[in-house]
Symmetry: C2
Subunit: 321 residues, 2 copies
């Protein structure tokens, strides 16, 4: 939960004058999101999310994120639609920070993942990939192998504080992934962070996909592997093959997996687990007192990594080629 920047009422009122949204009715900082400050904004014409981009987001990436959301929303994906100001720009400044207003999406994100959530997620992810294929801009994934190596270099000396022997385990996995990371798989725009708190549901239907601030160009199947990790393990660490099967089957129904993608799933899942293990480890080691966000547990992703290290092939996820 986080609101890093307080928006004074008079600055907000002035900011809104550049939009055709009517007057501000209310504005509440919301306790979701880790990277940015988010506000639930009500104006005379509707309900919106106001985001102030804080220092963890590279301002140079913002035009990509904004244009992507606009593209996807236009293609029927239930994602936030950037609202343009009277000058036609959706990306503006407020309180000294880049800022944007986007449409508000109904729905609740699921705390208890049901198989039906995984089924709907699979279909939504495939539609997202298909809709993104026509998007003209691109962004390199800064959190792929080279990024993991940088994170490892920044954490290896103190990784043992979190778990004895962790640095050696990470070094070994990085080497292995360097040797086995696939090339040439179908690629395009991926979300790259589609955790349950970024997916809203009304009943069993997906009503919203949010938080596109890690979106980038990479293998589609890597996005699926990230979801496999985030949605198909139980709190006790066990892997729920029913959920995995539903996730992947419903994905394939909309976007069939090539044989090479099927074969690559375990290595992609290892990479996806290592990516979140490393960022959580970094955040844990660099957590400062007074920070408003509690760092997440790196060990959860170490367990997931080890699970994927132990599988023979993608059949372990309940699917056939």
């Amino acid at each position: 939960m986080a609101v890093y920047t307080d928006v004074p009422d008079h600055e907000l009122t002035r900011f809104l004058r550049d939009y055709a949204l009517g007057e501000v009715v209310s504005c509440k900082g919301i306790a979701e999101g880790v990277e940015n400050s988010n506000f639930l904004l009500r104006t005379e014409t509707g309900t919106f999310i106001l985001t102030l981009y804080e220092k963890r987001v590279d301002p140079g990436d913002l035009p990509f994120f904004i244009a992507l959301m606009e593209h996807l929303a236009g293609a029927g994906i239930p994602c936030p639609t950037p609202v343009k100001a009277k000058d036609g720009e959706a990306l503006r400044r407020l309180c000294g920070r880049p800022a944007a207003i986007v449409s508000f999406l109904d729905g609740l994100w699921p705390r208890r993942i049901l198989p039906s959530h995984c089924a709907a997620l699979g279909a939504a992810l495939a539609k997202l990939h298909l809709a993104g294929a026509a998007f003209a801009m691109s962004r390199v994934n800064s959190l792929s192998i080279e990024g993991w190596r940088r994170l490892f270099a920044a954490t290896r000396d103190r990784a043992g504080e979190v778990k004895p022997g962790l640095a050696d385990e990470l070094a070994g996995e990085l080497d292995w992934l360097g040797d086995h990371w696939p090339g040439g798989l179908p690629a395009g725009v991926i979300h790259a962070d589609l955790f349950p708190d970024n997916v809203f549901f009304r009943g069993e239907a997906v009503s919203g996909l949010i938080d596109f601030y890690f979106a980038c160009n990479d293998f589609y199947a890597y996005d699926l592997a990230i979801c496999l990790n985030a949605w198909c393990f139980e709190h006790d660490g066990s892997f729920n093959i029913t959920k995995a099967r539903l996730l992947i089957a419903n994905y394939r129904a909309a976007r069939p997996l090539a044989r090479a993608e099927f074969e690559a799933l375990p290595v992609l899942a290892r990479g996806g687990a290592l990516r979140f293990l490393l960022t959580r480890l970094y955040d844990r080691l660099n957590h400062t007192e007074g920070a408003l966000v509690r760092p997440k547990d790196p060990a959860e992703y170490l367990r997931k990594l080890r699970f994927h290290q132990g599988v023979a092939d993608a059949r372990a996820y309940g699917i056939e080629p």
Copy 2:
């Protein structure tokens, strides 16, 4: 900012079945309030605030707070109206905590206090006092002199960490207030915490008074003195007599001050300053790493206390008997 309790979507859905508000559309934890967990709840029928009462609120006091809001809202005060469940009860339980749904109030709280805010506040405070006079329940102010003594006893040994010599200064002030605290002033239900973040405005008009969780029975003029401290000092510590005059004059226009109340204002303002100085000092000394709320600065209230120690009488606030 604070959301101490995450409300799982399935528990929320079940909770809402006991109300006639339709289905949940969305629910966002909001980064306001210090004592409780607050959520901006949208249902098929409207927008509400859902509050989970955390451990700092005595559950035994909740029926008083809920009934008070209901009484005041019924008397036309723009405060949250508790929403009753189908069984007629407004105070229920969610996630193992007492919980209530109240109406959502439009408006923004002012970050930059203008004289016009103080004028409108004075009138709103007087109306609140008049409306509360017919309220049947009562609650002792646990943060009056006896409460201050308990807080002092809990902080005196370490008060010097915040400011050298502070313990002696607090001891002297407590003694002085013990000798000079007035008796027999007009009393009734007061808000007791009417800081700017608890008062919403649309334009220059008060649109909402919130956070009644310190409300109690005490001198009306003490509530006015708390507002004098919270609204009429500038960030540089200077006292803005224009704001004070507008606050008090507009209060008096709706509820005239007796001569004894006028005379007592400086001592009440000293007491009000000491009360927030002591609670902030306590919170500062007992702040734990990982807490989601940054403790406020006790020194701000030490400066306010010293200002009131230096005034000859209530004329220093820009008013005449």
